[in-house]
Each structure stands twice: as C-alpha cells, then as structure tokens.
Symmetry: C2
Subunit: 125 residues, 2 copies
C-alpha cells in the first residue's frame, strides 16, 4: 500500500513516448502524480500546459524545453521547474532517449493543448 | 530560471542526514517541493507528518518506513506514497546510505512532530 516498484516505461500511442505512471490516485495520492517517461531521439511532447506546477527530473539524454519562443537546453543531472499554466514543449535532442521523471501537483492531471482543448492521455493519471 | 542543476546533498545538523533542496519557492514553485536526501546507515528521520501528500523515490540503499506500528521495507527502485497527515518515520537500514528524492505537494512545507510541534527545518523549503 505504501511501497511501489519503479516500473519501466512502456510504449504509448504517442510517437517516441514511453510512459509508466509511478504514483497517482491509485496509490492514495490526491495532490501528486509521478510519471516516468522515455522520449526517443528526435521525438517531442505536444505543446501543452496544465493547471498545476510541474517539476521534471532528468536522468539521461539531452532535451530542450521551448517556452514563449525561447529554447532552454537541459540534460542528465538537471531539473526543470514549470509553474502552473506555463505553455511548454519538450524535445529529445540527443542521440539516445531522454529519460525523465515528471512530477505534477495534482491527481488526476488535466493537460491542455494551446487552443484549450484537453488532451485525452493514453495513461492513468 | 527553468533549468536547475541537481546539487549534491550536504551535511545538516540532523544526525546522519544530508540534504539539498532541488526545487521550491525560489525556483518558482508554489505547489511542489523536491528534496534530495542521503540518510547514513543506522540513521533515521524523526517521526513526523506534513499537511500535504508526499512521494519518496529511492535510488540507493535500504530503508524502512514505520507507520502506525507496522514496518514497511523498501530499497532502490521503489517509491513510497505517503498521504497527507500520515505519521511516518524513515530508517536507513542498509550498510550504505539510503538515497532518496522526497516530493512534497507544497512550498513552503510545514513538518510536525507527533505532538503537533512544528519542526524548525535546517534547510530552505
């Protein structure tokens, strides 16, 4: 009930994106979600935002986060802090997968495209 | 502003406990804190609770979390989910340090002893 295995990311319908939900409602959380993701070389998330703070812990690969037209590079041994509702897009730009743990201050998590449309996520939140 | 280095834990006045605040108010967060901690062999946190959900990601060593008189063992490649206000105490029980990332759904974070006294934490939250 309190202890959970760190399961490996599995392929999703989103191109290049593997995912494992490590924690959320099913693990007793109401204020936190933790998502483990691998993003293959050249792949990216859609541009999106969520109505809660997010922190990304990077443990492998190289990435860029694009925010308001600016490019911020990051890699293993760095973290991203993304305040709620900041529109952002994450690109995997190295020659191996970008390995990240995404932490969100909600469960479930609603994710929105720039036009306000809610993304129908292919994993449990 | 968005990208931050994963700084190594540094010694604190709490016996056996090294700490680095990876993210919180100073990094633009209001709903999340991330704390990187190493707990030396045989050391432990005080018994405590906080008024927000917590998730602990374990990357090394062996630990126990004691909750309501029950002992739950964990180790590298496991996570703990601790719902808000659950009283808990974490012990480092291996022969090397317990390496963890603690995620809390608040910034700043208030931490309380079992008698309700607020702990004066020796790091920024």
């Amino acid at each position: 009930m309190y202890v959970h295995e760190q399961t490996n990311p599995a392929v999703t319908p989103m191109p290049g994106l593997s995912h494992s939900t490590w924690a959320g409602q099913d693990e007793g959380m109401s204020q936190l979600s933790v998502w483990r993701q691998s993003i293959g070389p050249g792949a990216a998330t859609p541009p999106h935002r969520h109505d809660c703070d997010e922190i990304i812990i990077c443990s492998g690969g190289k990435g860029e986060v694009h925010i308001a037209g600016a490019v911020h590079a990051f890699e293993a041994r760095s973290n991203l802090t993304l305040p709620r509702n900041v529109l952002h897009q994450i690109f995997s730009v190295g020659d191996r997968a970008l390995e990240i743990v995404g932490i969100l201050a909600a469960s479930p998590v609603d994710v929105f495209l720039p036009d306000g449309q809610k993304i129908d996520l292919p994993w449990r939140t």
